[in-house]
């Protein structure tokens, strides 16, 4: 091979290898499997694992929220799918909701999850008719209200409210 071609090839390969190193340090994958997932995100071919999402949805409908979140997390390890993240946020709401008092810790995690949804898709609206709060704004408001202690909390009529 001509020396010039070797030099040109050297520049190209060096730039490509250097780019790959910067990508790895930027995304910091923990395993080799994560390298593949993060590469898919970078090149725009990332998709959630539908089978695990379906498992999560079944567990969600059966009110087994811990299992549901585990499946949703496995389905969307990079947290790039707004719909899956919305279900995760909703699972925190439903698990943490109580007729007398709410679980503040779960509600706070729900707020974190719903913020991820907003960051991914500001106009997100769930098409699941089972979810009575289909938008992140409604869910966030409910979660925020649930973490505050106000005079309304002592209203006895609260005991007959329903979970959404």
């Amino acid at each position: 091979m001509n020396e010039r071609y070797i030099q040109a090839l050297g520049i190209v390969l060096t730039a490509a290898y250097f780019g790959a190193i910067v990508f790895l340090y930027w995304t910091a994958p923990r395993t080799l499997a994560e390298v593949s997932t993060k590469s898919q995100v970078a090149i725009g071919t990332y998709k959630i694992e539908q089978a695990k999402f379906d498992d999560g949805l079944r567990a969600f409908r059966a009110e087994n929220y811990v299992v549901a979140r585990d499946s949703f997390d496995r389905a969307d390890p990079e947290r790039r799918d707004a719909n899956t993240q919305f279900y995760i946020a909703y699972s925190y709401y439903r698990q943490g909701w109580g007729r007398i008092s709410n679980d503040g810790q779960l509600f706070l995690r729900g707020i974190e999850a719903v913020d991820r949804v907003t960051a991914l898709n500001r106009d997100f609206k769930s098409e699941d008719p089972d979810l009575k709060m289909p938008t992140p704004a409604e869910l966030r408001n409910e979660l925020e209200e649930g973490t505050k202690i106000t005079g309304d909390d002592f209203n006895p009529l609260k005991l007959i409210r329903e979970r959404k």
């Binding site: 010039r4 050297g10 520049i11 390969l13 060096t14 730039a15 790895l24 340090y25 923990r30």
Partner: protein, 242 residues
């Protein structure tokens, strides 16, 4: 006709018709083969080795599950790398006029710049690899590196002595971090009180010196990295002018 040209005639014989070449063309052909080989080493092998050092220098493996941890270099590593490059030039390991020159083509100047950039990134990462991550050991080892490099700046070096000195410095850094400090680090335990009773000295060193808990595989990985860096330095030519 000398022996060399006879050898070339015999090897280039096609269809029973020997190709007649004179002695000068043989010498030109031989030099060309040599320069192509040198180009392979300089523009492909050396950057590959140095970029691998760049990649591996910041990788640590977690103690529990051997998961990757990518550590970005501290600012001081960049300072050390700059000093090291100055040392390479002062020690004549690299002749700058042989790497960047008007006599060379734009492509070659560009390719040379790429190689030297990989040398800089590898130097940065080799310090990232050998400097302890934090606490008192970071400052002590960092100061020792700085003191050694700073003193070296004012010494008269040749390339061989510089490589020996650098090899010694890197070997010492490796010994301190991956043999001495690693052996003082207590294994992680879920029960703090139990850990104190089981490994009181190690637990004390880990807490006082703020030692990170990594898998022992990290040491093997960084040993390979240091070796690869020295190999890259050994292979890098002083000049790229033929």
């Amino acid at each position: 006709m000398n022996e060399n040209s006879q050898i070339l005639k015999a090897s280039d014989e096609t269809d029973g018709v020997p190709i007649v070449v004179d002695d000068d063309s043989f010498v030109t052909d031989d030099t060309s083969v040599m320069s192509v080989r040198a180009a392979y080493v300089t523009y492909l092998l050396v950057p590959a080795a140095l970029l691998t050092v760049t990649l591996l220098g910041g990788i640590r493996l977690a103690e529990v599950d051997n998961a990757f941890r990518f550590l970005r270099p501290a600012l001081i590593c960049l300072v050390f790398a700059v000093i090291l490059l100055v040392l390479f030039v002062r020690g004549h390991l690299i002749e700058l006029s042989g790497w960047f020159s008007e006599e060379l083509s734009v492509l070659q100047n560009l390719a040379n710049a790429c190689v030297l950039i990989t040398l800089f990134t590898a130097s940065t990462q080799i310090f990232n690899s050998l400097l302890p991550e934090g606490g008192l050991p970071f400052w002590i080892v960092g100061f020792c590196f700085f003191w050694t490099l700073w003193n070296d700046l004012f010494l008269d070096f040749d390339a061989r002595r510089l490589l020996r000195s650098l090899g010694g410095l890197l070997a010492l850094g490796f010994f301190v971090k991956y043999l001495l400090l690693q052996n003082l680090t207590a294994p992680s335990s879920e029960n703090w009180l139990k850990a104190i009773f089981e490994n009181p000295a190690k637990e004390a060193f880990t807490l006082v010196l703020d030692l990170p808990r990594y898998s022992s595989l990290t040491g093997y990985l960084q040993f390979f990295t240091v070796g690869l860096f020295l190999l890259g330095l050994f292979l890098i030519p002083r000049t790229t002018k033929r």
